[in-house]
């Protein structure tokens, strides 16, 4: 496999922490749109002017969302319908921006976390929002009519900062990753009308240092996590997700590839490939090993199919596959640059 830069998107004046594709990018001829957020306290919206050819330099910045956050914007995520963008900041707030005819207007500011908010995630129906942060808590917010957000639950359980929250792609299961080395899964207890921790992934198979990012495969049956312990772990759920005692079991650990902290991992919904971004400035791509043994239920393995050295001149903070176009990847780095990559090779077809 190989990957080449389609375009470098310049504009941020500080490190770029995170990027997010608008989920409906490329569907029914809609243009591809990407949001990026940065230590410069702004969010930039990038769009490809051609809906046909995403692989030539058609990308430009169409909006800058500034004046709202007082500190670093750490994470940004689009609602499933692409109409709202949520941004989480070290200033302790989460802002909600509405996309009206190309303009972005801040319609809500969610306050409650004691200090840095580190991550935000929408559930699959767009009715719930989760946030997490330095104060070790996870908050669940319900979207009310008129863009009002009501906090319905504050979850304590992690003993250190919560680095990331992520909803399951088709069920209301929330996963959180923490500086305390664990991953927790939260589900709603209908009887108690509150959210409870259903499982903590921190046993002998768990990570041995900070878990930075988690990502689901397209079906939500598998979860991949990446850590400061230089490994990736794949977690598998049984088909009857909620009736089993445990939601996930450890399937395999991918180690020996990364030289420094793995900050980002993303599972492509379009191709099934896993991309990582790390503190060693590399982007790596992993593919499930298709051999007889794995189809018979034996040890499943993932092999590295690509290593892009010096993908950025400094740490790679985030990698995200395009939601529809299997060969398009976006990355963000400490160099303040967002890059659009074309990935090519037989694993994609």
């Amino acid at each position: 496999m190989e990957m080449d830069v389609v375009q470098e998107l310049q504009g941020h004046s500080d490190r770029v922490w995170s990027v997010a594709w608008r989920p409906d990018s490329g569907i029914s001829g809609r243009p591809s749109m990407l949001a990026s957020c940065s230590g410069d306290k702004t969010v930039r919206i990038w769009q490809c002017s051609s809906s046909q050819d995403l692989f030539i330099q058609h990308w430009s910045c169409v909006a800058v969302l500034d004046g709202m956050h007082q500190r670093t914007v750490r994470s940004c995520e689009w609602s499933p319908d692409g109409k709202l963008l949520a941004t989480a900041s070290f200033d302790g707030t989460t802002a909600i921006w509405e996309n009206v005819g190309g303009d972005f207007e801040c319609v809500a500011s969610l306050e409650g976390h004691e200090n840095e908010v580190k991550s935000v995630s929408w559930n699959c129906s767009g009715t719930l929002l989760a946030t997490c942060g330095r104060d070790k808590s996870v908050w669940i917010w319900e979207l009310q009519p008129g863009n009002e957000f009501e906090c319905t639950s504050v979850l304590h359980g992690h003993s250190q900062d919560v680095k990331m929250v992520l909803w399951h792609p088709c069920e209301d299961i929330l996963v959180s990753a923490s500086y305390d080395n664990s991953i927790k899964a939260w589900i709603e207890d209908k009887d108690r009308e509150d959210w409870v921790c259903a499982q903590t992934l921190s046993d002998s198979w768990g990570h041995t240092s900070t878990v930075w990012t988690v990502s689901f495969d397209a079906s939500g049956h598998r979860l991949v996590s990446c850590s400061d312990d230089l490994s990736l772990k794949i977690w598998d759920s049984h088909s009857n997700l909620l009736s089993e005692g445990n939601l996930w079991k450890h399937l395999c650990t991918i180690s020996g590839y990364h030289d420094r902290t793995i900050f980002s991992v993303h599972w492509s919904k379009a191709s099934g490939l896993i991309a990582t971004g790390a503190g060693d400035d590399c982007i790596r791509i992993f593919s499930e090993e298709s051999n007889e043994k794995s189809t018979l239920g034996g040890d499943l393995t993932y092999k590295m199919v690509l290593k892009k050295e010096k993908a950025h001149i400094t740490d790679v903070n985030c990698v995200r596959w395009h939601p529809q176009e299997a060969s398009l990847l976006a990355s963000a780095g400490d160099d303040g640059v967002v890059k659009i990559w074309k990935v090519a090779g037989e694993s994609l077809y």
């Binding site: 490190r15 670093t72 200090n115 580190k118 900062d161 500086y179 900070t210 902290t261 001149i313």
Partner: protein, 156 residues
Amino acid sequence: MNGSALINANPVVHERKERVTRREVHDSSAEPIDALEVFDHVRDIKDPEHPYSLEQLKVVTEEAITVDDKKSHVMVVFTPTVQHCSMATVIGLCIRVQLMRCLPPRFKIDIKVAPGSHASETAVNKQLNDKERIAAALENPNLSELVEDCLAPASY
């Protein structure tokens, strides 16, 4: 003890090492970076609670700095003056900020306390190397003011 409760009221002050004057190299990219150069960048950082430099308190030494220029890697191991030093994270932050400013961006910097030198060694080391914690700390006005104060040129 006077009004402000110092964590280490009576630090041992050591002699400073002689400064080596090196010939000027105009093409900086040609000269590999070594431990002495890194030490020169951090030796004059002021201790957060004493009017002495980190060198004078033997918090940093040239011997405890490892540089691999080819791999663009720097490791600084420092020794807090007392086992329960709550300033250890601030000292580590000062060293990192100084090196981020002085070294080319290709360098990866790891900062740790010396083994056995701190009661919460593992926790301190983890915090010192978490880039998100570092970024957030530097956006905290009180903390960044303290760091700037320690990095300001001073004559001891």
